[in-house]
Amino acid sequence: MQTGADNPWFSWRYLENNWRTLVDLTGQHVSLTVQAVLIALVLAVPLAVLARNRPALSGAVLGSSAVLYTVPSLALFGLLAPFTGIGRTTVLIGLVAYAMLVLVRNTLVGLRGVPASVVDAADGMGYPPVRRLLTVELPLALPAIITGVRLATVTTVALVTVGVVVGYGGLGQAMYRGFTSSYRAEIMTAAVLCVAIALVADLLLLALGRLVTPWLRRRA
């Protein structure tokens, strides 16, 4: 391993020579994250709606999510790799699984937090269940769902890096290469980019969340 003097943590030269690779890896990282969170959201919301009225199902959902939480991502990729091989699919399945945990849970919390009186009022006005769900309950659960999406996104950005074990880890790939060649600038640059993606995504979602819940702002 080189000494600190000729192995800096940051190097303009490295950036100049490798910006194209870094842009590619950042793109890979972002697209994996976006895809995973969107798929997880599409699966999680109906699941949470189904689970809401069935205590047995919601117990099973929350219980299995607690179990999956204790399963390390490396082990999950180890479980998947024999069946789905090396590459993007395996990483994506793992990411969707973890993102779903957060989203199902938060959607359930949000739906349960809808005041019974509001549900009664909607029923009294003759809303059929689907309309009640779409126009009353889901909007009221929206803040909890958005919190879940932010959490799932930040977590997913971090998790993508573990994809290196199956050869598809976005910026984790650059970290791994920096590690194998003992080049500090490469590791640090990729790590800083990861944190930057997470923070930017979080801020964007925060803004989006405010945009779609104008009634909360008005009240405040």
């Binding site: 391993m1 490396l74 082990a75 790590a191 979080d202």
Partner: protein, 243 residues
């Protein structure tokens, strides 16, 4: 990929006594794994407990507690692992230190919340009896906050034992080595076997700690204690996914 034959290979691997007892086999890796877990949790507790007690007792520092949790969420564990390894060199210490960093938030926030949630009447009663601040902390606040603090430590242990698997990616050993070696050499049966062992260890430890916690909680506090540890998981909907 041929998943079926991988499952067969995994069973063969797990059934072979040599895979367990050979030097660098499952038992050796398990010992390293648990050792790193133990040291990391100890380090994290040594930092987080005093801080949480102090902030919680003084009723300050809520922002710090939340900020720590949020910051560590954005930083990938693997990134910190690579950075510390590039800095300190190969071995177990980079892993121990980085997983310890991520174990601080659950202990810190639970200790802080536990102390903040102590019934003000109990605190007033203690002060009224002429207790000093230190005695109030030791005899009133700490015992009442204990269920939550224990829950925080338990979360940290489970998270650390899972995250230590990543040590194999930076030359730190541990059970993750079976998985990553299996994938890198395309022996998927071994990868699958390693994953099963890691999952079993994580779930086993979680179950053990849950039983221990129930045993150590005085019967009178059991229902209240359980309810309170649940309440936390709702206010903090994000036990960190074990990256």
């Amino acid at each position: 990929m041929n998943g079926g034959s991988a499952l067969g290979d995994a069973l063969v691997y797990l059934n072979d006594p040599l895979s367990w007892t050979e030097p660098g086999g499952i038992l050796d890796l398990l010992r390293d794994h648990l050792w790193m877990t133990f040291v990391a949790v100890l380090l994290a507790a040594a930092v987080a407990l005093p801080l949480g007690l102090w902030f919680g007792h003084a009723g300050r520092g809520g922002q710090v507690v939340v900020a720590t949790a949020n910051l560590t969420r954005a930083l990938p564990t693997l990134a910190l692992l690579y950075i510390l390894t590039a800095w300190l060199g190969l071995g177990q210490w980079p892993t121990i230190l980085s997983v310890a960093v991520f174990a601080v938030p659950p202990i810190l926030s639970n200790t802080w919340t536990g102390l903040r949630e102590v019934d003000p009447a109990a605190r007033d009663a203690g002060t009224g009896m002429g207790m000093s601040a230190a005695r109030l902390l030791r005899d009133v606040e700490l015992p009442l906050a204990l269920p939550l603090i224990a829950a925080g430590v338990r979360t940290a242990v489970v998270q650390v034992v899972a995250t230590v698997s990543l040590a194999s990616l930076v030359g730190g050993g541990g059970l993750g080595l079976i998985i990553s070696n299996g994938i890198f050499t395309q022996r998927y049966g071994q990868a699958l076997a390693g994953a099963l062992v890691v999952v079993a260890v994580c779930l086993g430890l979680e179950g053990l700690l849950a039983a221990l916690q129930r045993m150590l909680t005085p019967a009178a506090m059991r229902r209240g204690g359980r309810r309170r540890t649940r309440a936390v998981s709702v206010t903090d909907p994000a036990p960190r996914v074990t990256v």
